[in-house]
Amino acid sequence: MVPRADFRSYYGRPIVKPAPWTHDIAAYLFTGGLAAGSALLAAGGQLTRRPGMRRAGRVTAIGAVAASGYFLVADLGRPERFLNMLRVAKPTSPMSVGTWIFSAFSAAAGAAAIAEAAPLLPPGFVRRVLPPLGAAAGIGAAVVAPALATYTGVLLANTATPSWHAAYPELPFVFAGSALASGAGVGLIADPSPPARRMAVLGAAVELYGAHRIETTKGLLSEPYATGRAGRLLRAGRALTAAGVAGAVLGRGNRVVSALSGLSLLAASAVTRFGIFEGGMASARDPKYTVLPQRERLARRALLDQPDISTGESDGIPTVRNSIDTGE
C-alpha cells in the first residue's frame, strides 16, 4: 500500500527527537572507519612483507584513532565523565559494545605504531623486542578492525530515527565498504601496489551496493537520503568513489594518478558518512517519516487481522478511513 502524502501532526512538530550529536560524530564515523581500514592494510603489508605499506597503515591508524578519541569525547555533554563508558558492558547498547571495541583496537593500534619507531632507537633490548611486539599488535588490531568498522552501522540503526533504523540491514555493509576504500586510499597514496587496488575495488563495490539499497528500497524512508544536503553529499560520495576506483585501476604504475585516486577514495568515505548522518537527522526532524510508515504498518496489520475486526478496535480500521478523509 502506498502511503498518502497527507498526514496529521501536532503543529508539524517532530515526534522523535534527532540525536543531539554534532558533526563530530559524523567525522568519527569516517576516522573510525579509516583507522580500521588502515589497520587491515597495515596487517596485509606486514604479512606480505611490504614495509612501506605496513608503516603507512599503522601510522594512519593511530592518527585516526587519536582523532576518533577526540571527536567522541568532545561530543559528550560531560566530556570529563568519558570514563563512565567503562562502568558497564552492555550488549543491548551498541555504544557500550563500541567503547570496548574501540578501547581494544586503540591499545593494539597504538602498540603497533610505537613499534615503527624501533629503527630510531639506539641498539639494545627495546629495539630488538619492539618489532615482534608490533607484529603481534598489528595482527591484533586487524582482528578487531572489522568490528570497529561495522559496529557504527548498528550504533546509528539502533535508534528510533526512522531512516537510520530502516537501513539497519545495509548500514554495516556501507560502513565496512567505506572503511575498506579509505584504507585502500592510504595504500594508494603510500605504496600503490596491486593489493591496495584490489582492496579499493572491493571496498567501493560493497559500499556502492549498500548505499544503493538504502537509497532505493526503503520507500518513503529512502527519501531523506536522496534529497537536501544528505542527497548532495551521497551523490558527491558516489562520484568520488567512482573516480577513485577508476584512477586506482587505470592509473597503474603512475604514482600521481594513484595518489589522487587514493585521495578521492578518502574524500568519498568522509562525504558518504556525513551523508548517511545527515539523512537520518533529516528523517527525525519531519514527523511525516515517523507517522506515515507507522500508519502503513498499522494498515497492513489491520488487513491481516481482517477476521478479527471486532476486537481490533480503534487503531486499524479508522486509520484507513482517516488517511482518505484527510486527503479531501
Binding site: 501532526s9 560531560r78 552501522g153
Partner: protein, 334 residues
C-alpha cells in the same frame, strides 16, 4: 535475560533482577477530563527543581511549552478542532499546512517550531467560541453552543516495558526501578545523548547548559515513600491518575467503555496493551483522536526489537570485510 527481555509482554522489574519487586506503578492520563490548567507542568517543575525553559509564545493555541524536553517533564498539548468529526476538520488541515511550511525545527525550548503561524491561521476562519458564561456549558438550553472542540492532553514519559533509552544507555545511568519505572541517575550520565534518538516517543532530552539527559522519574523520590507523584497530586480533575498499573488498566477499560456508551465514539486507549511495540506503557492514555494529532507516534516499536538481527548483519559485514582484505592480499607478488 528472559525470552521476552527485548520484546513482548513482560513484567519489567523482576526481569531487571528485583526478586521481590513491589507492584508495577504507573500513570493513567484520561484526556477526556483534562481542562488544560497546566498544574501538572508547574507541580513537576516545583518538585523536581527543573530550570525554567524561557518565555515563549509559540502560536499553538494555549501551548507555549511545545513538547517534552529536558526542562519540561509534563507537557499539556492543546488542539483546536471545529466540528465533532475530527478527520478532515480544518484543525487537521491547519496542522497539515503547518507541517509543510518550514522544515527546520528544534526541540530545545525557545527554538521556534516548524510552523508558519500566519499560513496556518489563514486556513481556518475565525471561530466564535461563544460569550463567556457563568453557568455550566449546556445547562441553559438556549445558550449558544458551537461544535468546536478543544482537545487537551498532559503528555509524559511512558516508562515503557521495553525502554529504548534504557537499553542503549552505555554508562548504566538509566536504570529500571523496583516499581518498573525508568529513571536517569544524574551523577552517572555523561551526556552521550544516545538515549535521545532511541526513544520512539521523543521524550528524553539533553539539557543544553548542563550536558546531561533528563526526563520524568515518575517521582521516584516520592513513590518510594508512598506519596503520589507531584503532577497527579496537583491534577484538579483526576485526569492524571497514579496507581498500580493493573488497577489503572482495569479502570481505563471501564472508562473508555462508558465514554463509548455515551456516544463518544472517538475515545480510545493508547499504550495500554502489553502486546504493542514497546510491551505496553507504564504511563498510558485515553485519547479522543488519533495519536499523531497529539504528537504521539501511532505505532511505536522499541528499536532493540531488531537488535539481534542488527548484530547479525554487522557480523556478516565484518566477515565480508575480512574476506575482502584476504582476497586483496592473496596471490603472487609481482
Amino acid at each position: 535475560m528472559g525470552s521476552n527481555s527485548l520484546y513482548g509482554p513482560l513484567d519489567p522489574a523482576p526481569d531487571a533482577g528485583y526478586p521481590d519487586a513491589p507492584p508495577r506503578m504507573g500513570f493513567f492520563t484520561d484526556t477526556s477530563v483534562c481542562i488544560g490548567c497546566k498544574a501538572c507542568e508547574v507541580a513537576c517543575k516545583e518538585w523536581n527543581a527543573i530550570p525554567e525553559d524561557g518565555f515563549n509564545l509559540l502560536g499553538q493555541s494555549y501551548d507555549n511549552t511545545g513538547g517534552l524536553t529536558a526542562n519540561s517533564w509534563r507537557h499539556v498539548a492543546f488542539i483546536e478542532q471545529p466540528g465533532s468529526s475530527a478527520a478532515g476538520s480544518s484543525a487537521a488541515q491547519t496542522a497539515m499546512v503547518a507541517s509543510t511550511t518550514q522544515p527546520q525545527t528544534g526541540t530545545a525550548p525557545g527554538i521556534p517550531p516548524a510552523i508558519d503561524a500566519l499560513a496556518a491561521a489563514g486556513t481556518a476562519g475565525p471561530q466564535f467560541l461563544g460569550m463567556p458564561q457563568s453557568d455550566l456549558p449546556g445547562r441553559t438550553a438556549d445558550a449558544p453552543r458551537t461544535d468546536f472542540r478543544w482537545l487537551m492532553m498532559s503528555n509524559v514519559c511512558k516508562h515503557c516495558t521495553h525502554a529504548g533509552c534504557l537499553d542503549v544507555c552505555p554508562t548504566g545511568a538509566l536504570f529500571r526501578s523496583e516499581f518498573g519505572t525508568v529513571v536517569v541517575q544524574e551523577d552517572i550520565c555523561n551526556g552521550c545523548g544516545y538515549c535521545i534518538p532511541a526513544c520512539p516517543y521523543g521524550v528524553i532530552d539533553r539539557r543544553e547548559e548542563d550536558g546531561r539527559a533528563w526526563k520524568c522519574t515518575l517521582c521516584y523520590d516520592r513513590i518510594g515513600d508512598g506519596l503520589t507523584p507531584a503532577c497527579a497530586q496537583a491534577c484538579p480533575t483526576q485526569s492524571i491518575q497514579y496507581g498500580e498499573l493493573d488497577e489503572l488498566r482495569t479502570r481505563a477499560a471501564a472508562r473508555v467503555e462508558s465514554l463509548q456508551a455515551q456516544g463518544e465514539s472517538s475515545a480510545r486507549l493508547y499504550g495500554h496493551s502489553e502486546d504493542d511495540g514497546v510491551g505496553g506503557d507504564g504511563a498510558f492514555f485515553l485519547l479522543l483522536d488519533e495519536p499523531e494529532v497529539y504528537g504521539l507516534p501511532p505505532d511505536p516499536v522499541v528499536t532493540t526489537k531488531d537488535l539481534p538481527d542488527m548484530w547479525k548483519r554487522a557480523g556478516l559485514a565484518a566477515l565480508v570485510m575480512a574476506a575482502s582484505v584476504a582476497v586483496s592480499f592473496l596471490g603472487r607478488r609481482p
